[in-house]
C-alpha cells in the first residue's frame, strides 16, 4: 500500500513539473524543469517495470535533449 502512495505522489509531481515546464518564464528554467519532468517519468517507468524504456528516457530525455536544448538556446541568445 505504501508503495502505491509513493507512486501517486510521483504522478502528481510529474503533472506539476509538466505544467511548470510549459508555463514557466525563461528558456533555461523551462528546459531545466523539462529535464526534471523527464527524470520523474523515468522513475514512473521503472515503477511500471518498463526498464528498457526508463533507461532510454533517462539517457535521451534527461541527458541528450537537455544538452541540445541548452545549446540551441545558447545559439539564440548569442545572436542578440
Amino acid at each position: 500500500m505504501g508503495l502505491e502512495v509513493v507512486f501517486l505522489g510521483l504522478l502528481v509531481l510529474i503533472v506539476v513539473s509538466a505544467l511548470g515546464a510549459v508555463l514557466v518564464r525563461g528558456y533555461i528554467t523551462s528546459v531545466v524543469v523539462l529535464s526534471v519532468f523527464s527524470v520523474l517519468t523515468t522513475v514512473s517507468f521503472a515503477f511500471m517495470h518498463a526498464v528498457d524504456v526508463a533507461m532510454a528516457e533517462a539517457a535521451i530525455g534527461a541527458g541528450l535533449m537537455t544538452a541540445i536544448f541548452v545549446t540551441a538556446i545558447d545559439r539564440i541568445r548569442g545572436q542578440r
Binding site: 523551462s30 511500471m48 517495470h49 518498463a50 530525455g61 535533449m65 536544448f69
Partner: protein
Amino acid sequence: MLQQAMYVAAAIVFGIGLYGVLSRRDMVKICVSLSVMESSLIMILVALAYRPDAAAPIIVDGVATYVDPLPHALALTAIVIGAGVLSVALALTVIVHRAHGTSNIAVVFRRGR
C-alpha cells in the same frame, strides 16, 4: 489501480502539452510543449503494458508472468524518433531566429503570407 492512475496522469500531461503548443508563441516553448506531449504518449504505452504482479520482460527462471513487452518496444522506438524530430525542430528555431531576429512564431506566420 496503478495503471488507471498512470492513464489519468498521462491524459493530464497530454492536455498540458497541447495547451502549451496552442497558446505559446515562442518556438522554443513550443518545442518544450511538444516534448511534454510526446512523453504523455510514452506514459500511455507503458501503462498499457502494465499487469499487476508481473515482472519486467527479462526472462528469469521461476517467474511466470511478465508485463507486455511489445508496447515497451514501440515506446522505445517512439522516444528515439521523437528525439530526432525535436532536434530538427530546434535547428529550425535557431535558423528562424537568425533570419527574423525573433523566435515568435506569429512573425513567421505573418511574413510567410
